[in-house]
Amino acid sequence: MAVGAELAIETEGLTKTFGSVAAVDGIDLAVPTGSVFGFLGPNGSGKTTTIRILLGLISPTAGSWRLLGEAMPTADLRTLLRVGALIEGPAFYPWLSGRDNLARLDSAGPDGQARTRGARIGEALSRVGLSAAAGKKYRAYSLGMRQRLGLAAALLRPRDLLVLDEPTNGMDPQGTREIRHLVREVAGDGATVFLSSHLLSEVEQVCTHAAVMSDGKLLAQATLAELRAGGTPSLRVEVDDASRAAQLLEGLGLGDVRVVGSEVTAKLASLTPEACNRELVLAGVGVRALNMERPSLEDLFVALTGEGFDVAR
């Protein structure tokens, strides 16, 4: 049985080519059950294509994948009943109200449960803060409200896995905070959350794990702590004699030594900051302040993808 599977999402050499272009190029994802997994990458890096493959919308050119422990695609796609998804933004019928849209989607499934439908819809709407606008036509919804309705659809049933593609797109800061809260809440109930985003701060704040994709390839995946530890930390000292300090640090084998006014920064190689401090003091350099700085996720992201948020292609 799939319950208790160690990995909520597992792919092996997953590949999708459109024409001669590999949108997804042999990726091996491993999303641990119970994690909040950040799926990072610049626009056009293949995140959404990957999600579409995972959910059975696109068939991969090569490779295999498992969802919640079950090899996909299963003939009846029953596994998907346990998966809530927001894919490339919400999509609903403009001429129906929020509530009717959810009812239409719910009734399209193979598992009925019409009796509990009204109650489930009401609860999902209140979880995303849309109760007041439930009777309004979707056409009249703002971008943020549409996003909320999409989330409500993903939360219509108890889920073991939530796949959210850019869930805070178009939301104001208050909405973004609410979504973060919601993600934590869902994860707290034991569900795995697979969160695709290009907003690093979002991932840093809620995720336990992250993977970075670029140009169809998976560049890194690990826990957030491991990812952060992966980069080289840097040393920042404020001294009375900056040029002498820079000379000394270079002599110790630190890389990328830079002087800005009375401050010197350098990449800590194998040395500890305290060892550097001792050397500086012994050489007669007055140290006013000393800091070790871990690289931010953004630094890592840029280092890995070799770019900022530019479109990959």
Binding site: R52, L55, G56, L57, I58, S59, D76, L77, R78, L80, L81, V83, A85, I87, E88, G89, P90, A91, F92, Y93, P94, W95, R104, L105, D106, S107, A108, G109, P110, A153
Partner: protein
């Protein structure tokens, strides 16, 4: 899911407007005949010259008038929208990950299409019958064979004609369903389907391609008046229905093959 889909379809303004127009065309026809006195015997579209004697014929005249263009148009609109409409809104990806199941979703769409086609035929007949009953006397029906049948029998045959007209549209509906799986643009699917109906009608009018006439989608559409003969002549109607069945088999299979394997990128 089927009931929900039917409810979903018939609450759309577009569908209601189309059905209202289908009702009004034969209804207004009776008004026009009433005001003008109607065409002389043997002139105008089939049955129209008989309307002033017996209102029942307004239903049959309505079917004759709407069958070449308006009925296929509305069926094309509904059929073209089935899959492409969901794709263009993006709701297709959510229905499929619900998961609705591709074959299941397509089957439900196909059945609603069938219901719509038959209902469209019945609505036209109803519009004519109601208009006919209001403006003209109803009575025993003089058949095309010259004999007379009871009013009840006449109305029953009219209803049967409406259902057969609806069934005649199923080949086109199946083509529309298939075209709809090819594109994410519903207007394109609708136009393509109408185009195929028009092409078939045009080819049917060109004697040089007479060899393919019996196989054309629209060739035997106007066979339903045979129901008004005593005894009923089934030859052309049977051939029409069989041909429609053939079109449905081919294009429903094609739609299935396409839809169950296609990459949903919308």
């Amino acid at each position: 899911m089927l009931l929900a889909e039917l409810h979903f379809l018939f609450r759309r303004i577009r569908i209601r407007v189309m059905l209202a127009v289908l009702f009004l065309i034969p209804f207004l026809l009776t008004v026009a005949v009433r005001l003008s006195g109607g065409p002389a015997s043997g002139n105008g579209p089939t049955f129209l010259d008989r309307v002033s004697h017996n209102g029942v014929f307004a239903a049959l005249a309505g079917l004759t008038v709407t069958l070449p263009f308006f009925l296929p148009l509305t069926v094309s609109v509904v059929a073209g929208d089935t899959v492409a409409g969901e794709a263009s809104l993006g709701t297709l990806r959510y229905l499929l990950t619900r998961p609705a199941g591709r074959l299941r979703l397509l089957s439900v769409k196909a059945v609603t299409l069938l219901v719509y086609s038959v209902l469209a035929g019945v609505v036209v007949a109803a519009g004519g019958l109601i208009g006919g009953a209001i403006f003209f006397p109803l009575g025993r029906v003089v058949t095309l064979s010259g004999t007379t049948i009871s009013l009840g029998d006449g109305i029953w045959r009219t209803f049967l004609a409406a259902v057969i007209v609806g069934a005649s549209l199923l080949g086109l509906a199946a083509i529309g369903l298939f075209v709809s799986t090819l594109t994410d643009v519903p207007v394109g699917a609708m136009a393509g389907t109408v185009g195929i109906a028009v092409l078939s009608a045009v080819l049917d009018a060109v004697p040089e391609v007479g060899a393919i006439h019996p196989w054309l989608l629209t060739h035997d559409w106007q066979s339903f008046p045979d129901l008004l003969r005593v005894p009923i002549v089934w030859t052309a109607i049977d051939k029409d229905l069989l041909l429609q069945l053939g079109y449905v088999a081919v294009f429903a299979t094609a739609a299935w093959a396409r839809f169950t394997t296609k990459d949903v990128l919308a």
